[in-house]
Amino acid sequence: MFCKPAFAASTALALLFAAPAFAEGRPAALIISQSGLGDQSYNDLAYAGFERALASTGIEGRTVESKEVVAQADEILRRASDAGFGLILDLEFAHGEPIAAVAKDYPDINYVILNQVVPGDNIASVVFREEEGSYLAGVLAAQMTTLPGVEGINEQPILGVIGGTKSAGIDKFIVGFIEGAMSVNPDIDVKVGYSNNFADPAVGMQMANAMYDDGADIVYHIAGGTGIGVIEAAKERGAFAIGVDTDQDGLAPGHVLTSMVKRGDVAVERIVADYAGDKFPKGQTISLGLAEDGVGLSPMEHTKDIIPADVMAKVDAARAGILDGSIKVWDVLSQGAPDYLK
């Protein structure tokens, strides 16, 4: 028997959203962002945290994935809201405004948005203090860049950083990195570039090569797919890159010094646990930094052998300083760009 595609699609949607609607511990939904499950990055990481949280809390949960996740934001959010979920976690950055509008109409459902602050009584916003993790990457890189006897490292105190676009969200990483580097060596030269594109590895490679030609030996990228070209350039030149968001150390083993990891899984896990424990942070902004294990450096599996203990000790000291508040890392989102980046 054949049914019309439209009917099949709506049946599938109905099945997807046909969640049992018990009052206590209503199920949770995770709306996957545009890059989709299987992105080996942001979505997969958040999904892993979601799975762990479901297993430990016993809450039921489903993922919502759509190719039209941006174009049909309102529709997807409303359908999920009508389907009996008590908690809707949204990974899509473009859902900031739609979620504010939809949440108003469903006061007894809890919404979560990541990487931005959306006001609303039943919305929790999760932001990451990427500047803190980037600061540690800067402390590490600034020491390594003049370290004698390491292959691929020259004696000049020059680093590079490549952002995908010039915006406060990206400059947050860049400024954290520069501040960390300057805390080690105030005279360090950190070259800053913007690729204007998050998916063009050829451009990332050219930009990284330009920085390596100018004496840089370690280049930090915050540029998605463009950054993959930065890592490739590091591998080809025998120099170093620093990865971002997920542990990218394995993309070019030995040539990715470290990665500034953003733990979307920790965020999702925490929120679901709060929800299960009836402590959902309604209307609040949750900021995850080093202290909450929301950001941090990768375990440096492939590079730990070339990083001397005293260098690592300084990184640990910087980490301790941030944790006890003696080091305050500049936050571009709340403080604006510092003079050297204007």
Binding site: S35, G36, L37, G38, D39, Q40, G160, K166, K191, V192, G193, Y194, N196, N197, F198, A199, D200, P201, A202, V203, M205, Q206, M207, N209, A210, M211, D213, G225, I228, G229, E232, L251
Partner: protein, 298 residues
Amino acid sequence: MITEILFSALVMTTPLVLASLGGLIHRSSGIVNVGLDGMMLLGALVALILASGGNWAVALVGAALSAGVAGWLMSLGITRLSANEIIVGLGLNIAIAGAVRFYLKAAYGSSGNLRLPDVSRLPKIDLPLPGPFGAVLSGHSVLTWIAWALVPLTAWVLTRTALGLRLRACGTSAVSSAAIGLHPKRMREGAGFVAGALSGLAGAYLSIGVVGLFNEGITGGRGFIALAAFYFGANRPWATAACALLFGIFDAVQIRLQGRGFPAELIQTLPYIMVCVVLLLLGLAARRRAEGKAASHG
């Protein structure tokens, strides 16, 4: 610094030269090919898959053939089904982007990025040239040299061979060329295959020449810059290649100027602004020449 900029410019220019020559040939036959970017994307993916555990030459042939077939099919839609060339071209770009995305997900469970083991990269040719010449010209991929060799070859074929004359006749007037026994539809379909094949090579250059991996944004809109290049080059191969080179140079300059105290947003518009400025100056010079001629005749 200058030699590094020029080296980088040649790298950035190679895919533009290949794709714009393809577009130029297709346009000479009478079809404006808006689908270059999609065919480039297809070529980039096919090349990487074939080069993984394989041979770069096979990968190049595969990229050229697959993208060539895409270009041929696109032309069929225009010649046999009378579809609008702009719509078909844009549609092809969207269709290929969607198919690539689906294939990556279905075959590799990955979205957007693809890295494969043992990729056979395009070989680089080292030239024993002295000083700055060596720094600029040595170490480029074999495809860069093929691209530049294709410029005079295309010019020669278009102006000095029967095939080129027929191609251009079909482009000038389908009705008249059919009247003298040519087959403008077949000519356009063949040119569509060539345009696709060259775009496929451009994509292969990006994936197995420059970076050794695939990303769904790897073309970076270069198919559309190639479109601009053959438009501005007015179907002349050398002028088209010069346009592509101009863009490549300013793109390389843009990359090197960043981090030297100039505002990033302004610098990134440099390639586009400079190409407009140069074209404006060329246009003014041409007009002055024309006026001068008119005056001397008057």
